[in-house]
Symmetry: C2
DNA sequence: CGTGTGATTGACGCCTGTCAACGTCTGTGG
DNA sequence: CCACAGACGTTGACAGGCGTCAATCACACG
């Protein structure tokens, strides 16, 4: 199932990282890209794959993770509307170092390596934009590293709730708009599933959240921030 | 104390990240940069500082760290010959997110922001080179994140020994060519100083290493890799 | 020789991972 | 419509890894 939207009409391309593309760049990109629908559970690419392009997320959510000891997955990031995925391998010309799995039906645009590198070579503003994006990700990664290394599991879980509610917003009832299994929550912060379960129900007892299956309702965000040790 | 070496004669500039600079770029850089000596213990820049340039390490070792809970430092990286530091803040136009402290007398070249951004705007190859560097760092950070999150303190310490012996080589006797306090080792892997001390002496008992003060002699690298759970 | 920083060691106990059993829900096939 | 399998969630028991606290030692420096 292939949908070739016109890049000129794509508000993601126009606004975000691609906002510095000129008319002719957009035209070229439009011809060379291709847009696909991915169902929940689909693997976009696997760790170790040779990549010949990168993806831009139109809609849906894609989970990026590394496979660690004994197959345990370490979640690196949830990519959503406007995010690029797989660019690292294209740019550093290495094999994919993460796996990308769809956790909410997604529409992704595929941009071939040559298109990307062509843009980078000819458009300094675009290039700088990408550079800034990678720098921001680098800082996020380092910050999270420090948290994982220094905080208790309890603090980390609370912090993840804060981060997720910033990234995915809450609906009118305060329910977090991303649905994760307890195991996935555990794989973000590097702990056991059972620990997540126990801590979540402690948070519930503390009136910080309410739980209805995978739905997490944020009741007391400041309280959560406090238990996360964030100022 | 200022030393203005000529960039043309600097083998770091010629070889590494700057290898794609043209004659005229080098000349310009030579005029605009300045080279300083920093003594052990000196702070190059502080977390939160506004940066108006970045540094290239000529010699010595600079420790980059973030300050976390209750002032506990989380070491992100040891920068050495040929490495750039402080570039992230310059590129993403944000305040410094790490502190850079000299742990071995160092000579650093300061490159003003405008010089750097000028090069990025006009030299696509250079720009791409920088992009690749940041991508590599990003992957390193993510990989280390996964390790910290999933491995035991024992495994992490062993892994750090492996990484350090790759980055800083061993002298003819197998002694690691970087001198760190137990606390610094602890601050790399996110544990308590006492744990590092105990584990190091266990490693010694297991004939993996020998200790003479801060000197760590690697005896059985494969054994260390095994306890680090690396293949 | 006093002071300070770093290294060591021991005691203690909590946090957290592991194992196991069981409950719940959903989808599938008979 | 029911039975069953499989994935996920929950709870309890238990041990041990690792953090914390405190005391002591080693060494360098003014």
């Amino acid at each position: 199932m292939v949908r070739n939207n016109n890049c000129k009409d794509c508000d993601i391309l126009i606004r975000s990282i691609f906002k510095n593309l000129k008319e002719e760049d957009l035209k070229k990109m439009n011809l060379e890209k291709s847009c696909n629908i991915y169902k929940k559970g689909a693997i976009v690419y696997h760790e170790g794959n040779r990549m010949n392009g990168l993806f831009c997320v139109n809609s849906g959510i894609v989970k990026l993770y590394k496979t660690g000891i004994e197959g345990k997955e370490q979640i690196i990031k949830f990519a959503r509307r406007g995010h690029l995925i797989g660019y690292r391998s294209v740019l550093s010309e290495e094999l994919a170092c993460t796996t990308a799995k769809v956790i909410e039906d997604a529409s992704l645009c595929f941009i071939p390596s040559e298109t990307m590198t062509g843009l980078l070579k000819t458009n300094a503003d675009f290039s700088f934009e990408i550079l800034q994006m990678v720098c921001r990700e680098l800082d996020e990664s380092n910050s999270f590293l420090a948290d994982i290394a220094q905080k208790s599991v309890r603090e980390r879980l609370a912090e993840v709730l804060v981060i997720l509610s910033e990234q995915f917003e809450l609906d009118k009832n305060g329910v977090l708009q991303i649905s994760l299994t307890r195991e996935e929550l555990a794989n973000i912060i590097g702990t056991a599933t059972e620990s997540v379960i126990r801590l979540l129900s402690e948070f519930k007892d503390d009136k910080l959240i309410e739980l209805q299956g995978r739905k997490i309702k944020i009741i007391n965000l400041n309280g959560i921030k406090k238990t996360a040790n964030l100022y």
